[in-house]
Amino acid sequence: MMRRFPIGGYIALLVAVAAMVLPLVWMLLASFKGQTEIYSLPIQWLPSSFAPTNYSDALGVVPFGAFFVNSAITTVVGAGIKIILGLMTAYALVFIEVPFKKVFFAIVIFALLVPQQIVIIPNYTLVASLGWLNTYQGIIVPGLASAFGTFLFRQHFLSLPPSVLEAAALDGAGHLRRLWAFVVPMSTPTIAAVALVSVVTEWNEYLWPLLVVDRPNMMTLPIGLTLLQNTDGITNWGVLMAGTVLVTLPILIVFFVMQRKIVAGLTAGAVTG
């Protein structure tokens, strides 16, 4: 079937891609510009040099290395435990028979409707009274419970062939063994997808860490980034954009390398079966 070259389609695609890319390119270019290049009219598109002055300034003003380590630790540990909790809960909800199971499932599901911002004052009070301010557990634990992950895993487990697990049960495999030796290996694509979405969410978390951390050596990247905004002086866009590049680049790299799995994770919420 011969079709006309879809020129309109390509133009639309180009516009869409440009709208997404242009702001990011603008950020990248600005991160190399000096003050006078940024504040010049008409605007100057290209920096006069690609010397990383703004980057060294940003790194000098705030400890980005520590931010990076903190973001990495909270993201990996937070997302990791979250996945394990989700798997265990989903398994229990699907494969273990106890009365009132529906109530526990309801507890998981209704939690999806409670925005974390609404409960932030009481949670802060609790975390502070535990002495968890400026600690990794203070950043991680309140957001650790898995509601959406549990839900997705449950949907997936319900679709697993019951015969395999029945056979395993007849062979004398206990629940824990069935979970790790059968259910988990049969669910790796779902687990990977949910894990990557969790990683992205944890990495970008802003309001909660902003509240519980006040020491720079414990700050995560999004919080540290706002330290570059100088309130009393004058906006230094070059340094600020350099910081923004440092915050966005790692997650963009992860996204481009693992985009298939991340896309699968994002769509898993909507498409099941």
Binding site: Q35, T36, Y39, S40, L41, V61, F100, K102, V103, F105, A106, I107, I109, F110, L112, P122, Y124, T125, L126, A128, S129, G131, L133, N134, F151, Q155, L210, L211, D214, R215, P216, T226, L227, L228, Q229, N230, T231, D232, G233, I234, T235, N236, G269, A270, V271, T272, G273
Partner: protein, 459 residues
Amino acid sequence: MTPRFDLSNAFPNGVTRRNVLAFGAALSGTALLAACAGPSVGGDVGSAASATPAQDWTNIKPASSITWWTNHPGNSMATEQTIIDGFQAANPGIVVNMVTAGANYDEIAQKFQAASGTDSVPDLVGASDVWWFRYMINEQIIPLDDLAAHLNANTDDFNSTLYGDYEYNGSHWAMPYARSTPLFYYNKSLWSAAGLPDRAPATWDEFDEWAPRLSAVMNGAAPLGIGKGTSWAAWWFCNIMWGKGGAYSSDWTMKLDQPETLEAGEYLRAMINEKKSATVSATDSAADFGAGLSACTVASTGALTGILKSSTFDVGTGFLPAGPKGAFTPTGGTGMAIPAGKTPEQQLAAGMFLKYLTDAEQTATFSAATGYMPVRTSAMEGATMSAIYTQKPQFRTAVDQLKNARSQDWARSFVPSGDKYLTTALEQIMLQNSAASDVFPKASADITTSYEQNVVPYL
């Protein structure tokens, strides 16, 4: 593959009454756990002053380690570390842990308020001009007069306005640290192109005369670029308002309906919306000025270094113009306060560090590094400052202008959200051409309500 919505197959029978009841039962179970944390509730909250018994400092030994919360005003982290090193060398028994508790004064305040009653309350905390009063009524900080006397901190040497800003009920609740005033910045090349003398206008009337001549050399653009937003608009506007004899309030009495205050608002409205001698900057009026978009601006002394760095023309500075009733400038920035609820040993150690931090030598060092005001009279003419004046003559203006400094009106600085309500009114005047007589009464009513709800019960 069939796309399906999650929750629709979560409950195949739909959300039934039974599900909801089960959920409700679970929820009320957790209600039993909910009652424990948070504040204690009573009908009367008592008075801040009476709840603070006098401390006898004579037999107290300073603690060996204290924590200091700062936002490093003016990128001063390195300078602050130098000051700490000096203090520790002079007092080998005391270690000072510096903590970046936020990017700005509001963030420090948020953290401090939230940390109250927990282990993580610092021993010394940044207390900005709009926050210290709230710390005080919440009984989160201690009065410093006895401690200062015990330590011979020589508070008489503080600039009296800067120290007086922290006075309430006869006690001082903080010491001045990183303090700033707004300055009038002007672009010398545009000034000379317009044939104006090389100085800031002495009065707003003079500015009105000069403005058309500046516009003429700027393709008709408005010469004065001014800023908006909370913590800013209602702060620098004090200059115009006080100059015309107006005020937001006098102690706890609202003065927004006074003819002089309304006249000042009207002046601001006309300047932007009729005379076109001023325009409101989008994000950063100091940056717009540095880029040459405006011929002059009102900006903080703290912005001086940034402006000099970003501009390609000669920058002139002068006092804020005077009004018919005189020349006045507000002051801002942050002081340092000592939290309540710490042991006397910690408070004493914090007091010793605070005394060192604000002594003549350190305030000059800090001022030289950041562009904030030296807070002691003796420091203003010392060797360190003299060297700075030679290097950055513009800085001298800021120090000299302190003679025009006046303490803030309580309606803005003491009433929670007072600054927000005033900013809203001023933004309506500036951006929407509203008459002051239409918007000030609402600000006045809102501030009064906030005062009655958030201040009166605690006094």
